[in-house]
Amino acid sequence: MKIWDVRTVLGWTVGLLAAATIALGAQAQEPIKLGVFLSATGGAAFLGDPEKKTIELYVEKINADGGLLGRQVQLTIYDDGTKAKEALTFVKRLIDQDKVDLIIGGTTTGNTMAVINEVEQAGLPFISLAGASVIIDPVKKWVFKTPHTDRLAVQKIFTDMKARGLTKIGLLAGSGGFDKSCAGNARALMESEGVEILADETHGAGDTDMTPQLTKIKNTEGVQAFLYCGFGAPTSIVAKNYKQLGITIPHYQTHGSASVRFIKGADGAAEGVRLPAAALLVVDSLPDSHPQKAIASAYKAAYEDGYKEPISTFGGHAYDALFLAAEAIKRAGSLDKEAVRSEIEKTNGFIGVDGIFTMSPDDHLGLDNDSFVMVEVHDGGWKLQE
């Protein structure tokens, strides 16, 4: 056998070079591990499902564009079925077994609160997609979140009411965590905002008729506006009962109703209901000068193109969490957990779908009530209010 034949040598050289390149390339491209746990099934599926789709869509896009820091993003998604116990198990799994660099998830406040201890002990950045303010108040070192809090929503609503000269209101709230937290914030803010709650009613979870509470509010002397704190199916029921009773004072709800399901479920009765929502909801009617216009329309186009279904603001929370993390990793230039964490905390003027984020060591949300726009239901769709 002629070992030193020119062609053999050439063949070997090329072969070895190729192997070396592949080996080096593989080493350089050890992936960034992103861990995600969401409630894609179970009670909160209507929130978790768009979140999951958004993350999958954009991780694919990020990887197609060359990844982060020249490395591919390896996504591990678990579905906790809206059960806190499962969420905790999956977070332990992400940390101990999958050894992820960063965690995004926690569709509901309960599932987020259940894992905070574990994440804080392990010390890795965690961005939650749940609403309530308890998640970031008091501030926890490793925990961030993207959705607006109920407190911001109440502030925005009160501001809008006062601008219309409405200061005496009737309040109705459900018994869920969000509902209670929202009503609590309304009571806490009423003095400083100069609003007076004349009637304060609640309904039970699973109630299918709110006529008694609404009748009471209707018959309360001097009520100028009505606020409902809640989300999901009851939002439509309240709107229906409201119309059936012929109540004509302005009707406010929260961003918990910012879904087409609310309008469809109310069967025409949602007309005229006013609520604060992320700009994403009315992206097409935003003026071109609006800072979020470009990013929100790009997200809407990509999502609707990818999944052939309308966007929801919940998917937007996931979009913001993913890109807040991506930007922080780019700035940190490494995956060192403390470096990434402190870069997330230094987020300044990040334009997301939910608003413009500016975080600080005292504020792990970074949104103010300018991140909301007021919308009104009009002809079965959303109409931006100036």
Binding site: Y78, T89, K92, R93, T109, A114, G177
Partner: protein, 314 residues
């Protein structure tokens, strides 16, 4: 030699060996966590099997007792500053008392009606935990302080592994003793035929109440330990589907087989973790596994396999 083959001694020894040796092969905390959840489910299922497998009374509400135990510990230690052990014992006693009060009216029912009665009981407990938000934090749940006994704090997966493992061993030992005792024979007589049992002088009502209370207390203890271990609980622990999960573990592992319930709890806790990788097909595979077991091994895994082995060796 014969003692080693009898379930009361040999089986218990085998369980002790498995619990003792398992940590050597568990690579990290995540696996310890799964092992702990297996143990907690097994404690509840051993109790539930006494009720379902031996006494022949169905309960679709045991997650309610589990949830009550969990919330009793959470509330008494968290909101009222009680010592953890006292909270656990008082919680279990209160759940036992509740079960005692409920047992008379509820265990008068038979078959589907008993299933409906216990289901209703579980649902009511779940509704209370969801609605009393001022006390329980509502659907968003509440945090639970760490387990503390005389200044020593149970923390970390490895510590909890030994606590849960030890409790499971004691529970199994008690259950095995119980079914070998006259009470156990009375329970099996009730299972066979309640009327016949009464005719030969078994006070059926008394024994049914007793086993209902025992199983409720075990569920409550399991719930308390779970609450302290996980550090955060939500009302979903008391949910109807959680009750169904317990019953499924018992039926899958084998009715009237104490070790069968441990096996059932292990399989149904571990399997979803393996299947999580196939997340879209998880439920499908799980359902297929359960259906095949029910069709081909209707007595449950352990009794059917034991019978198969016995027939082979003859």
């Amino acid at each position: 030699m014969r003692a080693l083959l009898a379930p009361r001694t040999g089986g218990l020894l085998a369980l002790a060996i498995v619990i003792a040796l398992l940590p050597a092969v568990l690579p990290n905390n995540f696996y310890f966590n799964v092992a702990i959840l297996v143990g907690l489910n097994a404690i509840v299922c051993v109790g539930l099997n006494l009720l379902i497998g031996y006494a022949g009374q169905i309960s679709l509400g045991h997650a309610g007792f589990f949830g009550l135990g969990a919330y009793a510990s959470a509330l008494l230690t968290g909101s009222y500053g009680w010592p953890s052990l006292a909270a656990l014992v008082v919680g279990a006693a209160a759940v036992g008392a509740l079960a005692f009060l409920l047992a008379r009216p509820i265990l008068k029912l038979k078959g589907h009606y008993l299933a409906m009665g216990t289901l209703g009981m579980g649902v009511i407990i779940s509704i209370v935990l969801n609605q009393e938000a001022g006390l329980t934090g509502g659907p968003d749940g509440m945090p639970v302080p760490a387990f503390e006994v005389w200044g020593w704090t149970a923390y970390g997966e490895r510590t909890w592994y030994w606590i849960v493992g030890g409790t499971l061993l004691v529970t199994t030992w008690l259950a095995l003793n119980l079914i070998e005792s006259p009470i156990g024979r009375a329970l099996r007589a009730i299972h066979g035929s309640e009327i016949a049992a009464e005719v030969i002088g078994v006070k059926t009502e008394r024994f049914k109440t007793l086993v209902f209370v025992i199983s409720a207390v075990l569920a409550s203890v399991g719930g308390s330990m779970f609450a302290h271990y996980s550090g955060f609980i939500t009302p979903s622990e008391a949910e109807f589907f959680h009750s169904i999960a317990f019953v499924t573990m018992v039926v899958l592992g084998g009715m009237a087989s104490i070790f069968g319930s441990i096996l059932g709890a292990a399989i149904l806790t571990v399997l979803p973790q393996f299947l999580a990788v196939l997340h879209d097909y998880e439920t499908l595979v799980l359902g297929a596994v359960m259906m095949s077991v029910m069709i081909f091994l209707p007595k449950g895994l352990l009794p059917s396999l034991a019978e198969l082995l016995r027939r082979r060796s003859l």
